[in-house]
Amino acid sequence: MVEEFDLSGKTALVIGAGKSWLEPIAISLLEAGATVIVINQDKNRMPLCGGLASTLNQRFKGISVDLLDYRTLNQIAEQEISNWGKFDILVNSLNVRFAKPLIEIDYEEWRKVIDTNLTTIFTACKVFGRYMLKQKAGKIINITTCLGERGVPNCTAYGAAAGGVVQFTRSLALEWVKSGVTVNAIALGWIADLVEIPEERVERYIPMRRYGRPEEFTPLAVYLASPASNYVTGQVYFVDGGAMAHS
């Protein structure tokens, strides 16, 4: 591996409520040499990377907590910083998909969608970014989707959260640009196992005419987490089989 892409000795936090996006990211960061701490919402959906970590001679830790519980997260941060000394990488992720006609979305649902998908990212950046500011170094990567840039019917709430992540990323990148912390986003298209659209639409809407695989976006997370990307900040990179180039 070109050494700029190496994550040996780095501590990475991977945060989110879903399972599918956390696991491949955790695995690729482990493989690149990082120590990985996954913080998720549901104990039963925690990725099991312990075995992999020990074969790679890396460290892995899973913590389950309410991702909106600012106080508990702060306690975790204090505890983990004393364990590992520093937080080099923070990966946040959109969490819970949701689509419904606007008229039928009630306020509680709207709040829940925005909270689990956008507010959790705000919270994690606040809690863990504080340490990165002190260190004057850090790599924040927010996982969002193409819905953050393209409209889809019934995706008002989820799309607003996804678009919120995009603008959140750009603003925070500039806010922290002088502190050595980079903030970028990965926007995913149709990734297998994580989404389903009818087959004929694959043909029509994805120039590559196939779903992506998780291992096709995780290397981008490694790049954005590594020193190789030190001049990249405030950017949203799409992994979508050509979908965004489609008119």
Binding site: R170, S171, L174, R209, P219, V222, Y223, V232
Partner: protein, 264 residues
């Protein structure tokens, strides 16, 4: 990460003798690729070719003016006959911005065509030149070096901005057309990159970049390497910006950070 390797791949890098071209030649070589260094500046082309060879990789310099289609076709043929195939084409050749700004009515037809030809037509000629080869092999990667100037306008940079914007849409159209032929076409859009200008100029330019500095050629080369490798196998039609935060903002001065309290 093994997917970031370019072992046994043959890469043609146009403008390979320039600052950014050289960095990409070296990064790709370090990742295991055979490099065809193409440039019209023979001296720097030969220097880079030698540097690649010193890294233990095969390399060949081929002189080529990308604005001349017969030279482009010859260059492609020569690369294929020497190494058997071309896996990666980086359309990097171009001229960096018009040096002396002048009123638009003083720009000659010739100057316009030179700006468009080097930065846009060259990428088209090279992509056309390699197309059959890549389509027949059902495999290939094209990386176009665009620019932030192809996304937002810059004062007095008519040819440069127009050509680079063209490169971005050329990228998308090619990607779309060939997505089903195993060919990926992507772009890299750097902000200002430190190459051959006086250091003071880069220092001055850096002050208008949120990160406070211009980019280094090596930093751009890592992104190109990623896009050239199998690590990016599901990415096509994208133009990735690498600019120290410039395009994330640009809406207000870089030090503008207001505080407005929430009022109920």
């Amino acid at each position: 990460m093994k997917t970031l390797r370019l072992n046994d791949k043959v890469a043609v890098i146009t403008g390979g003798g320039g600052g950014l071209g050289r960095a990409m030649c070296l990064a790709f070589a370090q990742a295991g690729a055979t490099i065809v260094v193409s440039d019209m500046r023979v001296e720097s082309m030969n220097e880079v070719t030698e540097e690649v060879t010193k890294l233990g990789q095969k390399a060949m310099g081929i002189r080529c003016d990308v604005t001349k289609s017969f030279e482009v076709n010859q260059m492609v043929d020569k690369a294929i006959s020497e190494f058997g195939r071309v896996d990666i084409l980086v359309n990097n050749a171009g001229i960096v911005r018009e040096q002396q700004p002048k009123p638009i009515w003083e720009i000659t037809d010739q100057e316009w065509h030179l700006g468009i030809d080097t930065n846009l037509t060259g990428a088209f000629y090279c992509s056309r030149g390699i197309a059959r080869h890549m389509i027949e092999r059902h495999s290939g990667i094209i990386i176009n070096i665009a620019s932030g100037a192809g996304i937002r306008g810059i004062r007095d940079q008519f040819m440069y901005c127009s050509a680079k914007a063209g490169v971005i849409l050329l990228t998308q159209s090619l990607a779309h057309t060939w997505a089903n032929y195993g060919i990926r076409v992507n772009g890299v859009a750097p902000g200002t990159v430190r190459t051959f200008r006086p250091q003071e100029e880069y220092q001055k330019r850096g002050r208008f970049v949120p990160m406070g500095r211009v980019g280094e050629p090596e930093e751009i080369s890592y992104l190109a390497l990623y896009l050239a490798s199998d690590a990016s196998s599901y990415i096509t039609g994208q133009v990735f910006v690498i600019d120290g935060g410039s395009l994330a903002g640009g809406y207000t001065p870089i030090d503008y950070a207001p505080i407005i309290p929430f009022e109920e």
